[in-house]
């Protein structure tokens, strides 16, 4: 009876959730997307993901170990998530050294400069992508198409505009969509991902499998992707109903481009999305609205990246104004 007893505040039991289990859970959820990009774009896609992930982990490790002189926490998996998402957000045509630059910016500037995990206001992978878009516009806008040479290591495959790019061009030239209908992929092709585009954005099916896994593991809230895509469909649907010759249908907008990957994996990023359910609904609606506005009215064919980054900036304001409903403020019957 002489043993020392531990005294600490309640509760004395803990749930099984850890930062590590959450982040590695997201990595697992990204595997179907990884597989789809490997199937569509070949070995080079696998290499790109490995390069960005390794670069992100290395950047975080070096900054923690040598600049901040703290115990590196790269084993928590969050840098791997950023690395994978960064690769999935860019074209297969991007050279490896540019991917490394993007990864250094994503982790070094967007994450560690703000204090590391949990403190970054903007999604690191999207900051990396935005940085690459302005720095390397040629490669970032060269879209490879999945044809032959699936095991090719180079980028020597047919390239051209993405489906969203073609629609934007047609709109600008005043061409009716029916004129370019033959060039546009079917909804099934968009869903399965046998199309051109960013490495991880091509297959809606793969994103959905990963999303379902994250919902099952309770890693993301359902409301974010549903409201994001719902708002996008609503606004693009209104345009389409008015003028189906100039605007694509809402399902096309959901399946094409980065809407699926963005709504399931980027807008749900914990550090850069609101804390209350109401806040997340507003945030997701804003993402959907801005995506639609940029796609339909803006200069870029695609707007998911900037939509999410702009809404990231509103998170502190949303957290401040949209608080969770309080018990005891309801009706007293």
């Amino acid at each position: 009876m002489s043993q020392t007893l531990v005294v600490s505040g309640s509760p004395h039991v803990k749930s099984e959730h850890t930062v590590r289990s959450i982040m590695w859970g997201v990595v697992i959820a990204l595997l179907p997307v990884f597989a789809a990009s490997a199937l569509v774009f070949g070995v080079r896609a696998i290499m790109a993901v490995l390069v960005t992930s390794a670069a992100c982990v290395a950047t975080e490790y070096v900054i923690q170990r040598f600049f901040l002189r703290q115990q590196p926490t790269v084993d928590d998996g969050s840098a791997v998530v950023t690395g994978m998402l960064l690769a999935f957000n860019v074209s297969i045509a991007v050279p490896m050294w540019q991917l490394v630059v993007g990864a250094v910016v994503a982790i070094g500037v967007a994450k560690m400069a703000f204090g590391g995990i949990g403190t970054n206001p903007f999604n690191p992978a999207l900051i990396g992508r935005a940085f690459m878009t302005v720095s390397f516009p040629v490669h970032m806008n060269t879209w490879a198409f999945p044809r032959e040479q699936l095991v090719s290591l180079g980028v020597d495959r047919p390239t051209g505009a993405t489906p969203l790019g073609k629609i934007a061009d047609a709109l600008e030239l005043g061409e009716p969509l029916s004129a370019i209908a033959a060039e546009l992929p079917s909804h099934t092709e968009l869903f399965l991902g046998t199309i051109g585009g960013s490495m991880g954005e091509v297959s809606a099916l793969a994103v959905l499998i990963g999303g379902a896994y994250m919902l099952y593991r309770r890693l993301i809230p359902l409301e974010t992707p549903v409201v994001f895509l719902g708002t996008l469909a609503l606004i693009t649907g209104v345009f389409w109903l008015f003028d189906p010759e100039s605007y694509a249908d809402p399902l096309f907008h959901i399946l094409a481009g980065g809407a699926m990957l963005g709504s399931w994996f980027m807008a749900t990023d914990m550090a850069t999305s609101p804390m209350s359910r109401n806040g997340r609904i507003l945030f997701a609606a804003g993402c959907g609205l801005l995506t639609a506005v940029i796609r339909l009215l803006g200069g870029f064919p695609e707007g998911v990246t900037y939509a999410i980054l702009i809404m990231n900036a509103f998170v502190p304001l949303i957290d401040n104004k949209l608080r969770p409903p309080r018990f005891g403020k309801g009706a007293v019957s």
Partner: protein
Amino acid sequence: MVTVKTFPMGGVHPPENKLTADSPIQALDLPDEVSILLGQHIGAPAEPVVQKGDKVKVGTLIGEGKAFISANVHSTVSGTVKRVDEALDAAGFRKPAVVIAVEGDEWEVHIDRSPDLVTEITATPEEIVDRIKTAGIVGMGGAAFPTNVKYMVPEGKQVDTLVINGVECEPYLTADHRLMLEHTDEILVGIEVLRKALRVDRAVIGIELNKPDAIEAMTQSAARFPNIEVYGLKVQYPQGAEKQLIKAILDREVPGGKLPLDVGCVVNNVGTALAAYHDIQKNRPLIDRVVTVTGTSLPNRGNFLIRVGTPFARAIEAAGGMADDVAKVIAGGPMMGKAVPDLNVPVTKGTSGILLLTKAEAEQRETVPCIRCSKCVEVCPVGLEPYLLEKLARVEYWEQSDEHDVLDCIECGSCTYICPSNRPLLDYIKLSKVKVHEMRRASAS
């Protein structure tokens, strides 16, 4: 008819670990010495009315609760008062206590020790409230609030329902469960006693659905009491928190800073109802209680009827003794209980459980930065923002803590339980509550 009800927001579902659900209540042998704390309840401690050398019997008054919120304390054994001194309480503070050397087991003559059920309630409502105070009855769920105070309904307040808490949502604990199975009728008569004291026509009992046998037993017996209804409640922690329970059963929300009285209710635990039965029908003051003595390391864990004042060590011995790998001993359940610093702390009226956790079970992971996962917000049954309250506390922004209603926290611990970064959210919230109270007192004076 049993309907499934629950509270509307938040909550967690920790592993239930009701290891002792099938262990019948057994009386623990009398210890050689008891340390009966004079302040076992919320409020002012009782004042001692015995001196060193006095002979006492089971049921002899040894401490008188003189303040408005206080409770009488009775001897729980027969013997000689060794000293009126101090003893360690579960939180590790030295508190006034009466230490009695046990000699035999002689009870005060007015106590009816027969097992016969007395159903006819002859006492008037005033007498009941008065005798509840005399008998030193406090809330048996853990908080140990003096019961009679709840029954002094202030002028202008209308009470229409008595809510009885048989939820026992804390993992591991099974004391209330066993009481409902083994003392079903006494509890129901006790509820009738309390209902009469409150002068209301309706009493409702909430029991979590993980105790189907207790729900069945209580429902069957309650059929003979037309004013008592039994409700099965979803297994969700903290279903047994007072305000959550009222919301679940009656769909009434007690506003922050208000009491159940403000929505027409009084809430008591099933153990308290049993204590009221013993007091009013059997003349037996509150001298013992059922304590779940449990933990994976205890081979003879079970539910023990223990005299108040018995050291924890005695109960642990009876349940199999301290294994070498025990790191934590908790008074109460794992979610809200207190880790005790010493095995000689005495069982009090509010000790619902003694839980032993091994090193592996008690291990704390390292605290890492908040990743804003928002799980703490999601699980808070009050709708608070624990992550924010922790941040505010770390920079000592007490005014902002107050603005964010830190005082509404019910300290259920769901936030700390769920936090993947293992942040001590509740520790900081408790600190904030103390500081906000201090700040309010300072600005009032």
